[in-house]
Symmetry: D2
Subunit: 360 residues, 4 copies
Amino acid sequence: MGSHAEKSGKMLNIAVAGLGRMGKRHVATLLNRVARARVVAVCSAAPHETEWARGNQDYIDFDIKVYDSYDDMLNHQGLQAVWISTSTDVHASHTIKAVEKGLHVLCEKPLSTDLNEVSAAIAAAESRPDLKVMAGFSRRFDASYRDAYQKVKSNTIGEPYLVRSNTCDLLDETGFFVAYAKRNGGIFVDCTIHDIDLALWFMDSPAPKSCFAVGTLKHHPELAESHDVDNGVGVVEFYGGKIAYFHASRTQAHGHDVCTEISGTQGKVMVNVIPKANNVVVADRTGMRHEVQPEYWQRFEDAFATEAQEFVTAVLDDNKVPVSLETGFLVMKIGRALQESLMTGKVIKFNEQGERIEDI
Amino acid sequence: MGSHAEKSGKMLNIAVAGLGRMGKRHVATLLNRVARARVVAVCSAAPHETEWARGNQDYIDFDIKVYDSYDDMLNHQGLQAVWISTSTDVHASHTIKAVEKGLHVLCEKPLSTDLNEVSAAIAAAESRPDLKVMAGFSRRFDASYRDAYQKVKSNTIGEPYLVRSNTCDLLDETGFFVAYAKRNGGIFVDCTIHDIDLALWFMDSPAPKSCFAVGTLKHHPELAESHDVDNGVGVVEFYGGKIAYFHASRTQAHGHDVCTEISGTQGKVMVNVIPKANNVVVADRTGMRHEVQPEYWQRFEDAFATEAQEFVTAVLDDNKVPVSLETGFLVMKIGRALQESLMTGKVIKFNEQGERIEDI
Amino acid sequence: MGSHAEKSGKMLNIAVAGLGRMGKRHVATLLNRVARARVVAVCSAAPHETEWARGNQDYIDFDIKVYDSYDDMLNHQGLQAVWISTSTDVHASHTIKAVEKGLHVLCEKPLSTDLNEVSAAIAAAESRPDLKVMAGFSRRFDASYRDAYQKVKSNTIGEPYLVRSNTCDLLDETGFFVAYAKRNGGIFVDCTIHDIDLALWFMDSPAPKSCFAVGTLKHHPELAESHDVDNGVGVVEFYGGKIAYFHASRTQAHGHDVCTEISGTQGKVMVNVIPKANNVVVADRTGMRHEVQPEYWQRFEDAFATEAQEFVTAVLDDNKVPVSLETGFLVMKIGRALQESLMTGKVIKFNEQGERIEDI
Amino acid sequence: MGSHAEKSGKMLNIAVAGLGRMGKRHVATLLNRVARARVVAVCSAAPHETEWARGNQDYIDFDIKVYDSYDDMLNHQGLQAVWISTSTDVHASHTIKAVEKGLHVLCEKPLSTDLNEVSAAIAAAESRPDLKVMAGFSRRFDASYRDAYQKVKSNTIGEPYLVRSNTCDLLDETGFFVAYAKRNGGIFVDCTIHDIDLALWFMDSPAPKSCFAVGTLKHHPELAESHDVDNGVGVVEFYGGKIAYFHASRTQAHGHDVCTEISGTQGKVMVNVIPKANNVVVADRTGMRHEVQPEYWQRFEDAFATEAQEFVTAVLDDNKVPVSLETGFLVMKIGRALQESLMTGKVIKFNEQGERIEDI
């Protein structure tokens, strides 16, 4: 009877919390890309999402139980792990609850826009070293970023000292983004957080010294109410002569354009400086052109699969998770400093111990 | 108990024949990328391959039965489909046997190097219209080739009339390739067959009029014994003013370089003219550089997954297979004509009915 | 007798002041690329330069008089125009002297590192509206920048609101650069000045609101004495919701890397984001690579020729010069503000009238 | 009096024969790009061309005498050299006449479409070793082709054994091209001749063994009358295991697309595989795109200047000319063999001595 790998106990029973755009994608990723995961449950507080799930043929065929409540889902019999893909404001509390239930957790970034909540979630995770609790910084699982990282670590470019990194989204004219933006903490917290994480990763987490940011509103004036912009440029100076600078945008015409350049004393590694949807080029009266991925999903779909595979493997084989929750703390601190600078026009400064200091 | 999708009958029990380099990859593809496939058996006549499989943890955990004989495997209880990845010389006979057992078949290209065998396999498939029998031309499942095809079909470049297509492999200095080459029918049959298929696909299968090829031996002089070359250039003229030309190589220094250009009366579509392993560029004292995929696997891994998914879906949902066996006949006819021209120095000509004609 | 165009008075007698690296190149440009220019004199205060010139066959054959003193050269009989390519600290005074002698002037950037001197030179030029006095911002004459400008002006990208621009030089290990750097005003004044000019040109000279810069020393610690860095990142916020940001570097491994991206509300124009020395790509065991120009000369040689041609044409045909001296004033003001921010860590702010304001 | 370089005798008095599109460009090149050339005369048998020249301000200012007859022009006092840019059918006779007058000659390609005429011109040149007689294969003066050549000669790619080269022109819908095509000898003689020259140059002039070509008519059916096609593909096998293959087209939508790939045993050098008009890329709703040069002039303008400079220098300094007339003979022989194959459908074969042989 039984089936694939069941007898050996080499399958992980996992649930996905949240059935928004990404939650659905995570279910599909687990079904189609992670041989040793068994999706046993999902939940959403939004009736239209649970209704959709209950009628979905895959969810039926693969016996995925649909819950209306996160708390109820945590009690699903045999559940071992949760992938938290709810809205940012409950990431931390959901993580803490799952840990308290003895479940392994993969939590989407950012852990919270509130540093105290981030600390509480980290503390919860530390209290249960037997559980795997992982932060979902998806870019670290992208094959190109990993290749770039290996090249930097193997000294291809000498000492890395400067990172330029962009997260520029396709203009969303549907209104979806503006509604979403109300609770995301601002462009440097929601968007640039990935770039900050990359900068810290590539330059070995130097301590920030000063943060400065400016921004503008070109397509979404409504964001002014949320104290946000639709294009921002930020600069971070680190102790030790390192620098990172960022451009975040919600208003690109050509697609999702995420690129990173790591400059070192002996060279430079560039990731996706010319974004391409695929290998196709069209030559016609307008010249030569290629398309660009419309969204981060097309750019990072494989990275999400790798992330899920590595989380499942870490649990099943009792390995260290590839990205710990702690990773998110310094990232968020810098993201919030940039957002504050954007709003105040001031340079936000820290001493080498990471404490806020004021200019005299 | 049971599990995923089992109750609904929405899983396909499939076996993989052959455990060479590609057979192993097909097993992994089915396990990791095809949610509705259940690999129930594999077989190989090579003891070191079956021994390897019997010790492999995935094969054990996922209950994959390992057979020493293809015929025995066909009798595996509950088996519904076979993916044939044995050596080319038994592709046709294995296909026929599986069809006779009432099994669905996905057969790797080429179906055979002998046109009579190709015809026999096609006839067998036609005798069982209830079975799905599919030819494995993997490039047709590649996202870039599909995008190019959609662009051509939606008239982006007017009437397509000229195809340039290359299959250029990384030089293999291990001896593996030279051993393999003895039974593959020659460079235009083994390598260019993909390019011929693409040319026919993009130009709506025009009738060939003349075929001419030349070649050279630069790294593998041993191939002379097999009446083959390690670099060949072939030209095919079709009725209706269409042309295809090809470069096949076994000796590239930089990687697996497969590109295709489709010229039409209003433009050109190019696929992979500058091959790239990923999105990474390194800038250093030598300039700027990127890496290239070493093998077709890195280039076409996703295409193989799509191919497997579509085959499984075609069987489960009773859809038409995306690439019929018949597709392989004209492709092979042209491949063999190019190989003959290569060996004789003559132009091989056909009339519009496809019959061989001689120059007067 | 006489010759080319002489009878018609359609040749311009021009002198080049300064015989450093660029002065020599300007002489060659005038000889080889400007049909209607006649180089009649050069000068240098450096004996090894004048000695070199007196022995140069071209200078002999083309009757170029070599002076040891700028003032003496200004009295050369028949002289009509001067191309000032001396060191930055005398650009302004040399311009003023030439104007006082009634000569047309093409003065290399920057006009001065001192804003008062810049003003004095502008005033001198304004006092002689009959003379053509032009600022040498060479990038404005580059075919690619001009094409980008036309595209922006013809509304290809909507309203331009964000400029990223880099001037990154090949690492100079000869010591030449460090010696040169002592009098150049700092990296944002010497290097970024071109990028500031481009940002103002593409965005219609918006008024600066705040300037912030950070930097680091990675290869040339000696620059600390000159209050300078070898890598700097600067951000300028303008009134009207416009932003420019810059990276200047003296330490690139791969070559002279100058790129500019102009983002608009409907698209983006990119100039030289992937720099290439020429059209050649090499594919070998390391992948695929191309070379990068080593210096700005290889990148902008044609732009210097166009600049010279247009200056000569402006004089001969009595046209407006393509880049007026005034252009240099705001550019220098922003360059100096960035340099000051770099040294103080403070944000430098201006009101809409361009007056310096302090944070409260 | 006099002027530039006159006294030293270091200027060359040169005339341009032919005032068609290229003849006018050659005059401009000599005026603007060749410091030591003095254009003293031009000629054309077409009254509208001579009329245009007599009214052109540059021709007036620079004292360029306009002749209605080539023979008269050859008698211009002080004339030292002629750049022959007349129609192909008189290239050879004009070369011979100029040599007989003791003039140096730069003759545009092809020398003739008749091999006997080519031989006669070569013989004339050989009879006057004191004169510089040069064939105008402009691509050999292009900076990228030269860089590629240096790389090949310095063993970057091992032994070169395969050349792919394309000459693909923008579709001309004005009728100019079709009229021009009547006397140009066919697509492989007019267009591919450059590619054949490159193949021979890069592979050290191997002896051709067999030539085969096919073609089609997609936009210019009128060419059938001239026994020509608007797209042709040709293959040349050489003795020694070398191969060249070519695509020539008159019907490109995107611009002038000329590329060359030289494959060697250790790597590949590619020239202009992705043609670009300049360094500009536009990102908008259609993706990312760049423009392509419309004509060979934009692609090779600098090469023509270098060619002119080197011819003038060869004469003035009594150096060997960079490309001898003999170069054109084998090139034309292969071009005509491809054209014959195109028309007859037969493989054209040669023995190692270069004599035509027939298949048995």
